[in-house]
Assembly symmetry: C2
Homo-oligomer: 212 residues x 2
DNA sequence: AGTGATAAGTTATCAGTGATAGATTATCAC
DNA sequence: GTGATAATCTATCACTGATAACTTATCACT
């Protein structure tokens, strides 16, 4: 029993670049409300005020449209990481802050996060190569800022693991685990979320950085 | 371009309990080969040697069938954790060993692990809710063995977080992150796997347990 | 203004999906 | 045998993502 979104009145044609963004906006709104696989291309088209086949003039497939939303989302992650880098110093406090930025992004953009890191690779590898790969690449690129921070910490002798790449991967994995489980299993009887996140970050800090 | 599985010859009817298991076996085999969302109920039925609507005599929905596979996978993990508890002592060495058991399970049973922990939830939450939480219950059971070990460590004053449930959840999340990323993104340029796993466990030990 | 090219959008339709209805067959107690 | 019951079938539904073929709006250029 979902209340249908109001259909936009048919727009004038030939607005080229804008229409593509309108479709993405409409799709994001529906995906956020109903979930990725519960939204059909017909619903997206109706919300965007065009016919369903018209979507395929802008996006080769539905997955392609989703990947575009992912790239969009990870652009915001990149922006946040850049902002976090603005007042960066190689310190424990900044380490905590950087971890927090990543976790918050994942929790606030669960669909984009899922597409980038949690979707099964298809057997023939088509999705990852053509579509999911773009999303994952955007995610890894945004995460590259993390590697820079870890390398900086290591350069100042603050890390316990002397291989910054390996340390970055273990930290990434640990962060991803928390985000993906919270996203995929919200029904699990988690302890209070803020407390869990804080404890997780504290554990990673103790395990990764020299005390003091 | 998928080679279809050979259709099983039609079995005698009325074998009740066995047929359900046969369907689950066929489904897991197909899911393993082609991925969850690429396998249709018709393919499952054909591999099981029955007609497609016959599935619905055993499973209310496709998600229900998947949930049953979930229960199976969780049960396997529970058995492994129980076995690991046999020669348990509250020590750093046993902590490391327990972490290793979990990671090894995930890497040795990537398909079961995917089914258990990496399936996309349906947005309305019916996936885990509709089976009366059977999958979740099996998950909590496997989780329980883990919680027991952490609680024992905490009782002996070895942990840095005084809330064993919260600590268990952060450790679980960190382990899950490594396993799920290695399983879902094997093409990523990871550092050498054994080194990565060892560094991950070492980081978790330092972050969770008192030094010494 | 008129004309043709092009871009954008349309209707009609496809094969495949999960799921349901109703007829049909096998099995078993009597 | 016979009826009841359980298991399974065929036929079909509404819906999905995607494609083909046709139509219309827009614009540069005569």
């Amino acid at each position: 029993m979902k209340a249908p979104l109001v259909r936009s009145p048919r727009k004038a044609k030939g607005q080229g670049g804008e229409r593509r963004e309108e479709i993405l906006d409409a799709a994001l709104s529906l995906f956020t409300r109903d979930g990725l696989h519960a939204v059909s291309t017909r619903q997206i088209a109706e919300a965007a005020g065009i016919s369903q086949p018209a979507l395929y003039a802008y996006f080769a497939t539905k997955d392609d449209l989703i990947a575009d939303l992912c790239v969009r989302a990870f652009a915001t992650l990149s922006a946040r990481m850049a902002a976090a880098k603005a007042d960066w110093t190689p310190s424990q406090a900044c380490f905590d802050k950087a971890m927090r930025v990543y976790i918050d992004f994942g929790l606030e953009n669960p669909d984009a996060y899922r597409v980038a890191f949690m979707i099964e690779k298809s057997h023939d590898g088509t999705f990852l190569a053509r579509t999911g790969g773009r999303a994952m690449q955007a995610g890894v690129e945004a995460f590259g800022a993390f590697l820079g921070m870890v390398a900086d910490l290591q350069a100042h002798g603050l890390t316990l693991d002397d291989d910054p790449e390996r340390l970055t991967q273990t930290l990434w994995a640990a962060l991803h685990g928390l985000v993906s489980l919270l996203v995929a299993r919200p029904e699990f009887p988690w302890v209070e979320r803020e407390s869990l996140i804080a404890a997780h970050i504290a554990m990673l800090r103790r395990g990764a950085l020299r005390p003091g």
